[in-house]
C-alpha cells in the first residue's frame, strides 16, 4: 500500500510496449470498479527496486513467481483477448483484498 492506495507494478521486458497497454487496461479496470490505486510501469528487471509496498505485479513477460512477496498475474490476456474476463477478475480480487 502507498498513501492508502493499492500499489500495482505493471512490467514487461522493456517497460515500453506491452506494459503501456496493460497499464491503461488496469487503470480503466480499477476506475470502472471505483478502486483507487497507484501504478508503476517498469521493466521486469526493475521490479525488485519497486517492491516496497507493492500489492500486485501484473506482467506480460517471463517471471519467476516465487521470487516475489506479492501476487503475480500474467497479463497476456490483455494482448490476445483470450481469457480476458478471467484475468480481470483475478486482478479485481487482489485489488479488493
Amino acid at each position: 500500500m502507498k498513501n492508502g492506495k493499492k500499489l500495482v507494478l505493471v512490467a514487461c521486458g522493456t517497460g515500453i510496449a506491452t506494459s503501456t497497454v496493460v497499464n491503461d487496461a488496469v487503470t480503466k479496470l480499477a476506475k470502472k470498479n471505483n478502486i483507487q490505486l497507484e501504478i508503476i510501469q517498469c521493466k521486469i528487471m526493475e521490479v525488485p527496486g519497486y517492491s516496497d509496498g507493492a500489492d500486485l505485479l501484473v506482467t506480460t513477460t517471463v517471471v519467476d513467481k516465487s521470487k516475489y512477496k506479492f501476487p503475480v498475474i500474467s497479463a497476456r490476456a490483455f494482448l490476445t483477448g483470450i481469457g480476458l474476463e478471467k484475468v480481470e477478475n483475478e486482478i479485481l480480487v487482489e485489488l479488493q483484498r
Partner: protein
C-alpha cells in the same frame, strides 16, 4: 500518431525466408535502416532482448511476434515493419521463454519514447484479437492489401 501513419507500405514484406527469429529481426532491421527509422545498434539490442525476453504471442489461430527494445537513442523515427511468412518460424513466447510458438507474422516495432504509443499499440493488439482479420492478413501477399485490411479494420 496513429497506426496507419506508422505502418509504412515500404516496410511490409512477404518474400523473405528467414530460418529463425534472429534472421527475421535482422531482415526487418535492415529495412528499417534503409528507410532511416533506426540506427544499426537498434537491431542488435532487439536481437539481444529477444533472447532474454522473447516476444512470441499465441493468438487464436496463429502465432505473431513483436520484437522490439528500449530505444536508447537508436530509434530515429517511430515505425512498424512487418514480415509475413508462408512458412512459420519458431519464436519463444513472451510469458514463458521455454515455450515455442510458430510465428506467421512478425511485427518489429521501433518506438522512440515510453508511453506515447498507447493508442497505436492498443490498435495493434486489437488487430491481434480480431481473429478473422489476422487470418486474412496471414494469407494476403501484397503490401497494398495488407495495409488496406488494417486500415479498414481500425
Amino acid at each position: 500518431m496513429d497506426l496507419n501513419s506508422l505502418l509504412n507500405k515500404k516496410l511490409i514484406f512477404f518474400e523473405a525466408k528467414p530460418k529463425n527469429d534472429v534472421e527475421a529481426i535482422k531482415i526487418l532491421g535492415d529495412k528499417f535502416i534503409e528507410e532511416k527509422y533506426i540506427k544499426p545498434e537498434y537491431t542488435k539490442t532487439v536481437v539481444e532482448r529477444e533472447k532474454n525476453f522473447p516476444t512470441g504471442i499465441v493468438l487464436e489461430s496463429l502465432g505473431v511476434a513483436i520484437p522490439h527494445a528500449s530505444p536508447e537513442n537508436n530509434v530515429l523515427k517511430d515505425g512498424i515493419a512487418v514480415l509475413s511468412l508462408k512458412e512459420p518460424i519458431i519464436f519463444h513466447t513472451m510469458e514463458d521463454a521455454d515455450n515455442e510458438v510458430a510465428v506467421s507474422i512478425v511485427f518489429m516495432l521501433a518506438l522512440k519514447e515510453n508511453n506515447e504509443h498507447l493508442s497505436m499499440l492498443q490498435k495493434l493488439f486489437k488487430i491481434f484479437q480480431n481473429n478473422e482479420l489476422i487470418k486474412k492478413l496471414a494469407i494476403v501477399s501484397s503490401a497494398e492489401e495488407f495495409h488496406k485490411y488494417i486500415t479498414e479494420a481500425i
